[in-house]
Amino acid sequence: MTGTSGGTTGTETAEPKARSWGRWFGRPGRSLTLRLIWLASLWIVLALILAGWALTSQYQESALRRLGNMLGQTIDEVVLASSATPTGIQVAEIKDAQTLRPLSGEYWAVAEPDGRGGLKVLASSPSLAGEALSVPADLPGRLSAAFGQMISYTAEGPIGRPLRVAASMKRLPGREAPVVFMAGIDRSDIDSDTRQFATFTWTALLILGVGLVIAVLVQVQIGLRPLFDLRNEISDVRKGRIARIAHNYPLEIQPLAEQVNRLLDQNQETVERQRTHVGNLAHALKTPLSVMLAEAGNQAGDLPDMVRKQTEVMKAQVDHHLRRARAAARAQLLGERTAVAEVLDEMAVMLERVFEDKAVEIDWRAPDELGFRGERQDLQEILGNLIENACKWCRHRVRISAGPTGLGQMVVVVEDDGPGLPAEQREVALERGARMDETTPGSGLGLSIVVELTRAYGGRITLADSDLGGLKVLLELPAAEA
């Protein structure tokens, strides 16, 4: 009991997990191909996005570092060119075309804290043309906190273009108050470079991504091909084209193929065992039945009559149930193919000899390549009973023709020139098995066995009038594909 309840709980918890897993990676039981492609593509896209982001940010950072170095140099130059005077700061001329030409994009300025939290400009590069480098409100505070170090920021330049600005607070010899040195440089070139690099990088990664996904598609198709081959082979086994899986498969699925073969063998063994049991039981029961029948047969009276009648019933019951068990076991058998012409030939030769007194002539036609998808013994059972029945009822002629009907089916037509069967009795004959042929010697169960076996194979049986004058039995059975 404990084991059962534990197992149930396990199943219950496992299910929702499987479902959410399935939502992301294709439901198990859906396509393995899709699942593999989906998973690989997801991983590729994630990896490429990460790579793209790392590349572009690295590029931008190094560009900014380069700008920072240039700004540091400018500041150093300005510091060297600066000297304190009693009135303020004197900056010697710096011979740099860029800082001389107005609004060139490269600027410097020297300032001092004005004591109200702002900066007062003491000198600036000619390129600024009287404009001022914009200063964030918190800059003077940060500069005095990090005295001597460089602080960089982005600000709007004199002509509305973005600037990279660096500022540093230093002391000049001969001057008590600290001086702020600033340098600015136009960063729009760097920004457009970075944008170009990003565009290029993302395009390249997109192409790479598409290429990789295509490669995955191809790889999955090729990688899973043995599985498709295996599927085809198993379906061939089912259709009766081959008996076992013969193909050599890759290491990973060869065990599966071998297990399928072992299963087929086991299936065959089970059927074989079942048949032996069935045969033994029949043998064990029928000899005593024969004894009872013979014993009663010698005497007249009510008791012997009853024994005779009941023995017949018992025989019928034994036959009926044993055949049913056999039919059920048999229909599961896969991969069997039986040549119809061979069975027809042996049946015709045998039954003509059995009915030699009556000079029965069995004319059978079947293409050599016609195969029944099922066991030889079953086809013998079906055709043996049908043809024996026809031989019992015919005057002299029995005609049999068999052929494929397409769609994996075949038809066997058995006709005789006997009295035939009125239409209203045909239903009954098929429903209850052929009780009505009890007047003819032999088993009265021929037709019921045929019906049971035919149904076990998913076939169909129809009765009609034959142009020979007697009964025409149409039998539809599964055909083995050539």
Binding site: G279, H283, T287, A294, D345, V360, W364, R365, G442
Partner: protein
């Protein structure tokens, strides 16, 4: 008439022995395959009733041995399993009729009478062509001593060809002699039966003469007297 009854069940053999005795047969009884084989091999029986499920040696093997030794005694087999595959293997071994257990004693007696009647007529007015032999009265044919399993239409075709061996026989002529009635009279029919017959007797024995018909000839090296 001497009958050999081979059956291992004590009660059934007692009953059958009585019934056969009452019907006027002299009955010997064997309870296992070894004894049956010995008796059948040494005594000249007119008929054998053979159960297939026997101790020591099974019925089919016993029958095969008799036939291999050239015994032609008619044999009726009793099967308990009732499966057609058993009946077929019994016939392949050389049985002449079968009866499925349980059966009425009258049925057995009727079948025996029929068997004996059939075998009574056998004489040796045989036709031969090389290794082929055909006995018209028993309606049996052999190739190199092996019994041929022929349907009646195949037998009739072979019979006609053997009666006219060495001569070219047209398809029309064959069709006329194959069927009593006017059914199925097309020459394809003949091709089908010639094809089947070739499979059973060897394809070189029946020669196709283009546009004319067929001719039965002994194989090279075989003498017609055989």
């Amino acid at each position: 008439m001497r009958v050999l009854l081979v059956e291992d069940d004590v009660d059934l053999s007692r009953q059958l022995k009585t019934a056969l005795g009452d019907a006027g047969y002299a009955v010997d009884h064997a309870a296992d395959g070894e004894e049956a084989h010995f008796l059948g091999d040494t005594e000249p029986y007119d008929c054998v009733v053979l159960d297939l499920g026997l101790p020591k040696i099974d019925g089919v093997s016993v029958l095969e041995r008799w036939r291999r030794d050239g015994k032609t005694t008619p044999v009726l087999i009793l099967t308990a399993r009732g499966a057609w595959s058993d009946k077929v293997s019994g016939f392949d071994a050389g049985a002449d009729d079968y009866l499925t257990k349980p059966f009425h004693t009258e049925e057995l007696l009727a079948r025996l009478r029929a068997l004996l009647r059939r075998s009574a007529g056998i004489a040796s007015a045989t036709l031969s062509c090389g290794g082929l032999r055909l006995d018209p009265r028993a309606a049996r044919a052999t190739v190199n001593g092996e019994p041929l399993r022929l349907t009646s239409l195949e037998y009739r075709l072979l019979h006609y060809l053997m009666m006219h061996q060495g001569r070219v026989i047209s398809r029309t002529e064959l069709v006329e002699h194959l069927y009593d009635q006017d059914f199925d009279r097309d020459s394809n029919t003949i091709e089908v039966f010639v094809g089947r017959l070739r499979k059973k007797i060897g394809s070189d024995r029946i020669e196709t003469v283009r546009g004319l018909g067929y001719r039965l000839t002994p194989l090279p090296g075989e003498s017609t007297e055989g």
